[in-house]
Subunit: 495 residues, 2 copies
Amino acid sequence: MFEAVELGQSLPKRDYDEQLPSLRADLLKVQRELAGTDSRLLLIIAGMDAAGKGECVNRLSEWLDTRGLDTHTYWLPSDEESERPPYWRYWRTFPARGRIGIHFAAWYQELIPRFAEGKIDIPELDVELARAAFLERMLVDDKALILKFWLHLSEKDQEKRLKALSKDPLTRRRVTKSDWKHHKQYDRYAAAAERVIRLTSTGECPWTLVDAGHWRHRDMTVGRTILTALQAHLQNGKRTAVQVPDGVFVPATSPGNRITILDGVDLSKACDRDDYDKKLRRYQGRVNRLAWEAYAAKRSSVVVFEGWDAAGKGGCIRRLTATIDARLKRVISVSAPTDEEKAHHYLWRFWRHVPRAGFVTAYDRSWYGRVMVERVEGFASPTEWQRAYQEINDFEEQLAEHGIILTKFFLHISKDEQYQRFKAREVTPHKQHKITEEDWRNREKWDDYEAAVNEMVARTSTEYAPWFIIPANDKRYARIEILKTYCKRVKQALK
Amino acid sequence: MFEAVELGQSLPKRDYDEQLPSLRADLLKVQRELAGTDSRLLLIIAGMDAAGKGECVNRLSEWLDTRGLDTHTYWLPSDEESERPPYWRYWRTFPARGRIGIHFAAWYQELIPRFAEGKIDIPELDVELARAAFLERMLVDDKALILKFWLHLSEKDQEKRLKALSKDPLTRRRVTKSDWKHHKQYDRYAAAAERVIRLTSTGECPWTLVDAGHWRHRDMTVGRTILTALQAHLQNGKRTAVQVPDGVFVPATSPGNRITILDGVDLSKACDRDDYDKKLRRYQGRVNRLAWEAYAAKRSSVVVFEGWDAAGKGGCIRRLTATIDARLKRVISVSAPTDEEKAHHYLWRFWRHVPRAGFVTAYDRSWYGRVMVERVEGFASPTEWQRAYQEINDFEEQLAEHGIILTKFFLHISKDEQYQRFKAREVTPHKQHKITEEDWRNREKWDDYEAAVNEMVARTSTEYAPWFIIPANDKRYARIEILKTYCKRVKQALK
């Protein structure tokens, strides 16, 4: 999940200074509008230690009109508070209609460390998260807009920042022992945060992940997201209050300065022919053996292939499945749903093909169509594709719990490379059927697809079903990489 | 919960025969309408052992057009099924758009016995239930109507029916050893069923509880509920598919033959003056002592008073609180919300008064206004009051988890008695302020209030916060009963 946020995003001072005046004016305007409605805004600002939650909240208080704003921190509960049920302290701080409340971490405050430190187990955490999600739904049903921000820091950025804070006499006292302790167990805290964020990113109330490595990017992103979401919410509010405004996405990026996870992919990676032949033989042999081993162990595999048009999915699938015994494998090509499939929930057509114990199913395109093509082309409404992330995570979690080995590939190529391949297809007789008007049309929406991929990875890359983004400008490199990754996944699972 | 279903409801043969033809015609008509839409109907028929689930489903298949209908039983999973995640077998049986699926117990099949037999604990059960509720929400979001029926049998009725089935050579083989085993642990199974039903009675998909002691009542009720709900759903469907039709209520009663939990209350109970004085002194002394003991143990009490207008709530509250030290107690009179309260979620005004450790708070009317007056008077929309049961249960569960002793009284009087008291108020100078036009207006909706009380008790009487319905035609009897019950609850909790 967090790999889609650790992009080293920043915002040059000049851009920041240029954007700030209009952002502030617009925020004040929309805050005034909110004041006249029976809606209200809850901002939950959580994040990694040292991500600058305090700084960010201070800046927001500067930008907004403090007369309509309350800020709440939840340190150790007071006597008054601990004598009542845990949520009492939150209920007393909810903003009244027309107002904005900024809540430091709120009900997430205790959960992440407690889970990371093993003080509660998974079912206990999940029950707590269900309660939190239920509360949020209740407030949303009561016309509140809830925006939850996770200010993220990579391990390296966290270290850098803790050191800087410790050096400065002004900020030294803000760095505590527990900050360093948490930092040393960064992976455990990050994994705990991922589970919490995933299970409470509901359709009506998703998290916004923010790269918090640089303060200007961080605060501008938070500010912009609030503005867009609140504008859409007030528009929407006239019809229905339950919809999540379109502007809330994960992770947020600053406008005019967008970086996605795809930008970090090194597309120059290549593999020469000799090397390729050698490796292909080696890994295909390994795939064959592992498939039989998995069969004996009754462990199925589900392999998902997504990627740009002409990224070479078909070739990769053939190389992977070529050496698996025909009795053990199956390839599902996902195109337009059949009549029968249309008569069911969109996940039904994927559930039906879940393999029996020990078998391998490769999906050439998959359920991710819901949050990619259906989102971008408008076949699914925002409400539909926004809740789909949680639906998909739930589906995959059920597969994983049953012991199915899930591996998801996204084949990435550059826009130029796609152009070359399209052109080549047009002139190669036996490839002409592979290029249509639709491919050219999809290509025009490249940026929208990029944003969709970014959010997809952020929200559905999980510990049990991670995404592997494969650089595929060089087809040989991509094929080997896929074989290698697949072998690794299966081997790990069979251990 | 089940106390509101164990009413011994039946339907005379003549009424049944009279109602049947039109019910069947209407069901077929609405089924044909459904076939032309992109909606579908899932019927989940669960219930106590020997409640006649099979009989009921057979009858439904007779009434409906079998060409648009599929029935699914989930016995031991096949090889095919157990090699896939547990929900695979359900996904393969969901009805296509336009069709009806009847599902025996579905995903609830295993959960209740496993929990009753201690094979899974509360957090594990709750995680499973959250998954079930999530699936149902997904289907409802996809325009399905889901109706879940719980066919209930009291312990006595179950025994009677098991014996009858065992005697008849035709049905003997249907009674298994496990039926008798479950029957011997009736209370555990009933408690397990209550938790399951409560936690999955969501706003969009509540259970319908059916008194299954007599087959004509049982099947007619199920048939009628399907009809009403489906009619409303198809009406609604044009606007939004997510709303629960008004016709789904808990528990269902057959039309023209309505019995509610209030009908079983013995209103002739009385207490003579001498006896009253003696008991009053005794119990008030006990309340005083227990209040101090609870204070020392830091256990708070929340006491809820609901009841008909003029049922004598005020007098009861005074008798209860009179002897509690003024420093320990507080009475909250709930009338129209203040401006500040209106600016918040409806539960906010109740959360704010949750007592500190060791204190006693009595609520003269309460959060139940949402599902009583606001429901009947239309101040809350059906969606709002229907989801309120779950919101209220969640609220009370949080109080109970924190150790707060919750006691809820409903003071019941007859309609005649109310008339006498209203009239008396009108002629007694110091009572004239207690009777208004509104009281007379409310009185006209007596039947609607009765239905609301019935559903309220069915859906919010829980092991941690049961309802006590107090016969209050005789004020002295009611007061003593309340003192006695309160003492019992506190004493139990302090043990």
